[in-house]
Symmetry: C2
Subunit: 703 residues, 2 copies
């Protein structure tokens, strides 16, 4: 763990710069909160005029403090923050908690950058500015203006919104979800999400990391940090709607990326994405209290058929469809229910179930090797007491001796059920007031394991490639003042990165066209190559199925003529002569250089699938061949590639290699390629490979 970050987040002493004797001022509230949270470290108020604040001796400047200062909380107005930063640097403070607002979020980016520059020059790190502060139960430290420490627990929150952190802080008590740390990250001028994830991954007091993200500034680093993180991460990303994204951008001055690419990146990083605030709490509770679920066999115990059916629906919805329990499990379950109960799954003990049946079924089901995870449902009945059922479930779990598989619980009822669930949560068993939520919670433990099991090791690097030659082609296009490659150039670049392009050569005369057509082999396709004509077909610049030298010559003339008529002053590079690839299944591969996550590849089927159904999927580059296969399988029209309507299966293996190589290319050339398309790409039947028929590369803007 970075000792400076430790000094910042777990300081042994804190200076409060801008300390105030006036109640209600933030410089007063922070000191009051440190007292209330029973902080055991040094507290040194800094105020040029006061002698003492809330019982602590005051110092005129931070330099006057005669002790080591780990962290400084800065609450002075924005215009004084730079000077305070310098003084902290002189003093040898490790970390700055800059609560003050009025920087990048209101447009003053320069001041914020200057702050970071100065802090770095002293080896200091900055949390903020524009934050609430930072809170830690294990350090009994509320170094913030949030009113109190959260309900203690094993989750930690990093929030980009201060208001939401304060509200969630209070909400931990009513929702009974415990947190150790709550860190307000604000403008992220210096310390960002990826560093917080890396830090909390090593923090012994954190079991699960919860994030509220409006916009990441460190996309690739975040993915890396999350992949390496030893603990479950759950994120609530706001600004996923078009209108919402706009609001986010104006809110903290960070650029929000497209919701779809965020979703992709989170999945690639092994991060669970919460759908809303309640969902964030629900999933955090389970992830912070229970182990991951290692297999797909979920068993549900219930005393109510109705909630059993609701839970069954939910299991399917959350990707854990129920299977009937094996015979020996059913036999054991049948001992604890009336004849009209059901031992299959859900195991319905019926409304007659009392404490003993709950105890016995819980204990034996939980300890059975077939069961990978257990959900226990209880409907309040007239013949049972929720607190006793809770006790029976708890004893059943404990007496099973099992600790490596998850269990969640739902009680549906009133106040007594709520109290009983609270009691269970205090004992480490996540409990929810609706059956579907208990199922969602165990499903999140399964999903987290599934994401762990994904192989992120090593992206695919195609052999026998020539990046230097590719860069030469790009440089030469740039030298001509162009910000896009021609089709022939783009295909050359593709080819130099090992992509199978339809052989294409550039002809500058009728004779050359014939020569090239003969070397490629008839039939051929001929297309205009001009930086000024992007939509070749519209310009009459494409002729297909050319079968002889006569036809080739005629095509050459006609295309030139059409191009001239279309745009008289177009610069013509020549006419491309291209192998005419036989038709098969058409797909599209493309890339964008996302402002948050960098080069990102897209894949989908061609034609109406892309244009009408928008049936495409993304991955942040680079990717492995395995991930590429995942892309092929996750589009809605995936079955087409497996062969439908009497067609043979397509060469998915070859396509996966092409996708991975494409991702490698756009990653390797991320400084050069802004956007690219391979469209169409023809995928042949198994063993017959793939052919890129058309290519486009748009270059990054360089000034």
């Amino acid at each position: 763990m970075d000792p400076i970050l430790t000094g910042l987040l777990k300081p042994r002493s804190i200076a409060i710069i801008g300390a105030s004797a006036t109640p209600g001022k933030i410089g007063n509230t922070v000191i009051r909160n440190l007292i209330d949270s029973e902080y055991k470290g040094g507290v040194y108020p800094v105020n040029p005029t006061a002698v003492e604040i809330l019982g602590f001796k005051c110092y005129p400047t931070v330099n006057d403090i005669p002790y080591v200062v780990d962290a400084a909380v800065i609450t002075v107005p924005a215009k004084f923050v730079l000077e305070a930063t310098k003084q902290c640097g002189e003093k040898g403070v490790k970390g700055l908690i800059i609560i003050t607002s009025g920087f990048a979020e209101v447009g003053d980016v320069e001041l914020e950058q200057e702050l970071v520059r100065v802090a770095k020059s002293y080896g200091m790190r900055i949390l903020g500015p524009n934050i609430v502060g930072t809170l830690s139960n294990s350090d009994k430290m509320n170094a913030s203006f949030a009113p109190f420490l959260p309900l203690p627990g094993k989750a930690s929150l990093v929030s980009q919104s201060g208001a939401l952190l304060i509200a969630m802080d209070a909400g931990t008590y009513t929702r009974r979800v415990g947190f150790d740390k709550m860190v307000s990250i604000g403008n992220m001028s210096d310390i960002n999400f990826s560093e917080m994830v890396s830090y909390l991954s090593e923090d012994p007091d954190t079991n699960c990391i919860a994030l509220y993200v409006e916009g990441l500034r460190d996309g690739p680093e975040f993915i890396e940090a999350a992949r390496n993180c030893k603990k479950p991460i759950v994120v609530l990303k706001s600004g996923v709607s078009a209108h919402g994204a706009a609001a986010a951008a104006s809110h903290t001055g960070s650029l929000a990326g497209a919701a779809k690419i965020y979703g992709t990146a989170f999945k690639q990083a092994g991060v669970t994405q919460a759908t809303d605030l309640n969902d964030l709490f629900d999933r955090t509770l389970a992830l912070s209290l229970q182990p991951r679920m290692k297999g797909d066999n979920l068993l549900i115990l219930t005393n109510g058929g109705g909630v059993g059916v609701l839970a069954t629906d939910s299991a399917e919805k959350y990707g854990l469809p129920l299977h009937f329990a094996p015979a020996d499990v059913q036999e054991e379950m049948k001992k604890h229910m009336p004849d009209f109960g059901s031992a299959k799954n859900p195991v319905d003990m019926t409304g007659m179930a009392g404490n003993d049946w709950f105890y016995e079924t819980t204990r034996s089901a939980y300890s059975h090797p077939w069961v990978d995870g257990l959900v226990v449902l209880y409907c309040e009945t007239a013949i049972t007491l929720p607190e006793e059922i809770a006790d029976a479930i708890y004893r059943g779990i404990k007496d099973s001796g099992i600790t490596d598989k998850p269990v969640t619980v739902s009680f549906v009822g009133g106040e007594r059920s709520d109290k009983a669930m609270e009691w269970l949560v205090e004992r480490g068993i996540p409990a929810y007031n609706a059956p579907d939520v208990a199922v969602k919670a165990i499903a999140t433990l399964r999903d987290d394991q599934r994401m762990q099991d994904m192989n992120h090791n090593g992206s695919y690097a195609p052999g026998d490639i020539n990046p230097a030659a590719a860069r030469d082609i790009i440089a030469s296009a740039r030298a001509k003042g162009r910000d896009a490659l021609t089709e022939v150039e783009a295909k050359q670049v593709f080819s130099l990165y090992g992509l199978p392009v339809a052989a294409t050569e550039l002809a500058s005369s009728e004779e050359e066209a014939v020569k090239l057509a003969e070397s490629v082999g008839y039939p051929v396709v001929m297309k205009i190559v001009s930086p000024d004509i992007l939509h070749k077909s519209d310009a009459g610049g494409v002729k297909v199925n050319i079968k002889s030298s006569e036809q080739a010559k005629e095509a050459y003339r006609t295309i030139l003529e059409n191009a001239h008529n279309y745009k008289a002053d177009a610069h013509i590079d020549g006419i491309a002569v291209q192998e005419m690839a036989p038709w098969a299944t058409e797909v599209i591969i493309g890339s964008v250089n996302d402002s948050t996550f960098g080069p990102t590849v897209m894949f989908g089927l061609g034609g109406i699938f892309v244009e009408v159904l928008k049936d495409v999927t993304f991955r942040v580059a680079p990717i492995s061949v395995e991930e590429a296969l995942g892309m092929e399988d996750e589009i809605r029209s995936a079955a087409i590639l497996n062969g439908t309507r009497g067609e043979s299966p397509r060469d998915k293996a070859a396509l996966a290699k092409v996708l991975a190589a494409y991702a490698y290319m756009v990653y390797d050339l991320k400084d050069e390629i802004a956007e690219s398309d391979a469209n169409p790409v023809i995928v042949y039947e198994n063993g017959q490979g793939v052919k890129v028929v058309d290519a486009r590369i748009i270059l990054t803007k360089k000034y």
Copy 2:
């Protein structure tokens, strides 16, 4: 309102048959509950041996009661229920509340049917059997073994699961969602959901009807009752997963229909479908307290940017995307926020917002005509008190003088926020602990209005049809022992219901084939017609593009030969000669006779859209042309019909008429048609109409 139902649900006197002096017995609990709920009507325990139970005089039989008995609660064991029913009939009891279980749900269907027969012979109605009972706050009546009356309110619940009713009853207090009535409907041997909906539609104490449904038994009646219902209806339908549906079927002995058709039917009936138990409570709260939302202009007020963005995302998710507020609204809002606030929408007053700003923005926004609905969000801050903010919002709403548009609220915070929200709910303002839920709640009020606005009046009835002739064709096929029509017969039936089929005639000889081909006009298609050959192409039984009499003769011979080789003993009706419809956009129309809702039409694009993407939509028949247009627009590939990739728009108007006529046909022939297909149907460009190229009708089984 049906006076017998009123007698059952709001009885002035109740006999308890199976009354018991033993605490814990249901026959004792019901009397205890009537006492505890302060029921003011007559309570007459019936028990052959007891003299008095819980202070009430006991009667040996119901006939010995010297007063009028409106309802009898029956708790005696199943084998005595029939006798008790007869005695109630003799006594002149109006309604039976049969709590006893052990009927259809355990397989004893006959006993249950006998019960209904006997009750009907006396003019009595039955609630149950296998129920918890019925509860009503406005009647101060807990005639059930659920422990207490629910939190008073303006929603009423009808539940097919007794256990869930009991659990929800207790949950009304912790979730602060008030109910007037809770009715356990159990096996629905007699009174079913449609009757309860009709009854509660007239009930002055009910504003919103909440249903928990495992499987309807009265699909078409339910749709009718729901359409005529004056109040919002929200349903939680369980058993929507494959596995869940199986569990539902075994649970209450009712057959669960396919989830997709249920979803369609609910939408057609104007019923909101809740996704889970919390969602049921959330939506019920809003629908029972607030008016419907008349337009799409939602304004969001907030003191926290983060929750504002979350709410914005949610608005898009729930079909109410935000628009920027008009200039005059923004101007007014700006008066109540600092410079760095935002007046657009969401209106972000920032964390500086106090009581006055909340009051002023709420009042002026709510009374502005542009605003159709208002969501007020509050994040607990250090400078405000939740109870004061709640008061400010409440006053703002009240002082606006507006009562015909909805408002919902979310406070994110701790216990004080929860208390403040409780206070608001008591004053009729729905409040939720997460911003997205407050948005979902107002969106449900908008959706309910949208469903009201749908025109259900009158289904389309095609003119110039001949149902009698169609029935003759079917009868003649049945007379031959067949349970499917041939293509030619099916097309004749289609045609008699006004559907535009490709002209098809049956030839029995080469010469006849030539004659028919000439009358249809070349080119033609020729196809084998045999009840024993369903897959005509596989049998080599289809020849297309026949252009001359020679080709027609040859085709006739070849098809017969192929059919013989394919299945030597196949009965051959002849060979169909069909107009060769030019190709255009291919769609599929079909129908199933759903076990719950009856004839239901399906629509989708043909080929891969149906086979791979399962991109189809359903409507319970009959439908209007307007609804048919809705079907065309709601498939994922809808854009294809509008013309993509350079194609002209398809004739959607003609297609809608065909869809509506098709629905009319399968509805009119619902006793005859089990399943049907028009596949493919070719849709031409605007004004050019539609042609049904192939047809199939499977008949209902009749014994």
